[in-house]
Subunit: 134 residues, 2 copies
Amino acid sequence: MAISSADERRASARSAYLMSMASCPTHRVLDRLGDRWVSLILKELADGPRRHGELARVIAGATQKMLTQTLRALQRDGLVARSVTDSVPPRVEYRLTPLGESLLPVMAMVAEWAERHIGDINTARATYDSALSG
Amino acid sequence: MAISSADERRASARSAYLMSMASCPTHRVLDRLGDRWVSLILKELADGPRRHGELARVIAGATQKMLTQTLRALQRDGLVARSVTDSVPPRVEYRLTPLGESLLPVMAMVAEWAERHIGDINTARATYDSALSG
DNA sequence: CCGTATCCACCATGATACTG
DNA sequence: CAGTATCATGGTGGATACGG
C-alpha cells in the first residue's frame, strides 16, 4: 500500500522527538519522573520496602495494572528492586536500589522548590486566568 | 439517563487522581516539567530571551501548536513572560521570570544526576531486557 | 511573524475478568 | 496476594488551513 506524505511527515516528527528523547538524559529522566505515579511510588519507597498491596492501598488512585506497570518501568531502569518470597500467598516486596536512593536528594530539591513556590504558581494562574475574563 | 456504576467508578478513579494532583505541589511541578517540550524550552530560555521563531527553529521536533501551547502553560504558571513588540511583522519575545529562573538550579541538579547516572540506567535496561529473552 | 481552530490518529489508562 | 490479558475510551499531540 502507498504511504501518504502525511504519514511520512507524522513519522518524521515522531522520530525527531524520539531521537531527542534518546539523546538527552535530562529529558529522559524528567519523562520518567513525570509519569503519573512515579513520584508517589518513590515517596513511599523512600521510607523503606513496601509490599505490592501496601502500595496499592496507599496510592489509592492507581489501578493495579498501572501500579505494576509503573513498578516494572522503575525496575527496568534500575531504580527499584523487586523480590518475591515464594509462599502461599506470595509476598512481593519492592525497595529502592542504591541508584534509586541516589535520586532522593534530587526529588527532595524538587519537592522543596515546589512547596516553596506553589503559592506563586497559584497566584500567577489566578492572575492569568482573571486577565482573560476581565 | 442512568449513570452506570462503571461510569461512577471511572469518575471516582479520575477524581481521586486529580485531587492527589491538586494537593501535591511536587506532583504538580513534576507533571509540568515532564511535559514533552518544557525542559527544552527552559533550557533555551536559560541563556536569555528568545523570539518565538528562534524557539521554533531550535526545538525542531515541536509543532507550532505545541510550542505555543507549552509556552502558554509556562506563562500561566508564571515561569515565563511574553512580550509583544507591536510592529509589522509582530515580534514576540519569551523570557524567564524570576520564578522561572529560581527553577534553574533545580533543573541543573536533575540534569547533573541524569548525566551522571544515565549509563547506569542504560545498563539496567539492557540487563533487564536480556533477562527476559535469555 | 505569530497565533488559533479544526480534524483525526494514536496510545496511555481504566475497567474487567481470569490465572497461579 | 500478585500479575496478566483483553477491550474500550478519552485525551494528547500532529497535520493543516486560516486570521491578524
